[in-house]
């Protein structure tokens, strides 16, 4: 994993090379986070674009020494959640706290095949599994993003993999 703090000053100057390096290194994580909440290709692409735009907008508020990747993934999560508040006009809650609000399937045909593979998981499990498998995030970083202790994250991950094994028999 790259040292993101080395790129912050260049991002403040809107340097394209720095931005591309950050983008390539983080897009799996951003995609995983948004996919755990949204199962629609067109919307996911828009939300990924919005996430990176917001990252630049708020770059002056980021303090070096913090976990940049976790900070960016929080922006991705909030962007996806804001989408529902804006488009669905219902009260939307963080998947960590209120799983039941995300149970409904979307009728949009433009869905991801990978989402179907992880269908039996609740939203918290989806988030942890995707962040681990797709973006290779360390459990320590996942724990920081989902705001749970590592032991709990490991337990959720192991339980989720077991569930997927049974589903994909």
């Amino acid at each position: 994993m790259i040292n993101y703090d080395l790129y912050i000053d260049d991002l403040m100057k809107k340097d394209n090379e720095a931005f591309e390096a950050i983008y390539e290194s983080t897009r799996k994580g951003v995609f995983s986070m948004i996919l755990s909440i949204v199962n629609n290709k067109a919307v996911t692409e828009d939300l990924m674009q919005d996430t990176y735009m917001k990252m630049i907008e708020k770059i002056a508020q980021y303090k070096k020494g913090r976990n940049f990747y976790a900070w960016l993934l929080q922006i991705a999560k909030n962007t996806a959640l804001d989408y529902y508040r804006r488009e669905k006009k219902v009260n939307v809650y963080d998947p960590q706290e209120n799983e039941h609000l995300f149970e409904g399937e979307y009728n949009d045909k433009n869905n991801y095949a990978v989402y179907d593979m992880i269908k039996p998981l609740d939203d918290e499990e989806k988030q942890i599994v995707l962040l681990r498998i797709v973006s290779d995030l360390k459990f320590k970083d996942i724990a920081e993003v989902v705001e749970k202790p590592i032991g709990t994250v490991l337990w959720i991950y192991n339980k989720a993999i077991k569930k997927l094994q049974d589903y994909n028999k």
Partner: protein
Amino acid sequence: MKKKDLIAKIRETAIEEMPDVLQRIDISKVNIEDVPETVRSPFNFRRAVSYTFASIFIFIFGVTIFNFIALGTDTTPLDNNTEIVGFQTISAAALLESFDVVDLAYTESTYSVTQLSETTTAVDESTIIDQIYLVNNYLNMAETVLVDENQYLYEDIDSDDANYQYAFKYNGTDLLGNLISYRGYYNIVEQDGNQIEVGILIHEDRTYNYQTVIIDNDGVLTYRYRVQLNDQNYVEVSNSSTEEAQRFTYRVYKNNELFNQSEVTLFKTKLSLRAEVKITNRLNQEINLEIERDMSVMANQRFRVNYRISENQTASQADGQFTVDLQYNDETGKYQYRYQINNQEVVIEDRPAKGNQQATEDDFKPGRDNQNPFVTTATDNNTAESTRPGGHNKPRESEDFTPVVESITL
């Protein structure tokens, strides 16, 4: 499908479908927000005074209402997952240390019984005294982890041991008001396709190995922590909490055989943390303890315990109450648990050594002093102010108190 293949397939599918939106983003058109400034309004003395009085009134009113409302019991006293996970490993280690110090075999010579008066009572204390050893293991655990909410701290910290990637700490208070400190270090490893924690727990001069154990019961995964003296003697703890109760199940193994099993349920009443302990021994007797810790005098705390003993879930064989505090033994220079059960006093030898530095408020604030306290070189700077035998049973004579701090190399 094998786990490895499943994981590979999910990863491959996701990466294949992952969109590339780089060309859609033109960062030159983005306005970078300034860091918001803190706006200070000019100081208004009259407003400040009125706010102060209003705040005091609201505070007093709020505390009164809170105390009125908070007469009930909080059945989920551990506030977050860090505490729930930490409680399991620390309590298991505390349970194990009492077995470590004293032989797991029951021997009469390690406790003494004193008749306090000639008065005879209808209550037969012999039943509970027969179980005193087993009970004492759980009181030792309670001394470590059953404390008021302002007297303990579980915290994830950065590891200062190159052998381990992760670390956590626990600070608590013993019955003398001294600081109890544990450090945990662990790595995450893959075992049988599962990710588990493997590490060590350090307390004073004792180090225990611990790891997570995953039990698969017909597709239902159960997660346990195993804290070990060695391969044959260990404690396993699992979280059997419900939404209504925080409950943990302990299995104590000696020579790889189940020695006893227990269930501990936690409650909080106002600021006091209490526990209900249900122990099943090898004779299939059930020993129920309701333990409450009295911390009103920090240097001389005690446990009040209601107990009930029954056999095969039948009617109670014996029930009653007793109190437990610490007594200093001049000959050994150690503290012992002293039980007062009706008109008998029972003293248990060899209480496992805990801290010897008085706990301060800072010890229970997160983000402070995360250095491992068990790898510093000892000095003889301990004075009567910083170390004390403590307790009303031992007068403060600093000349005959020897600090227990040692130099430990990991």
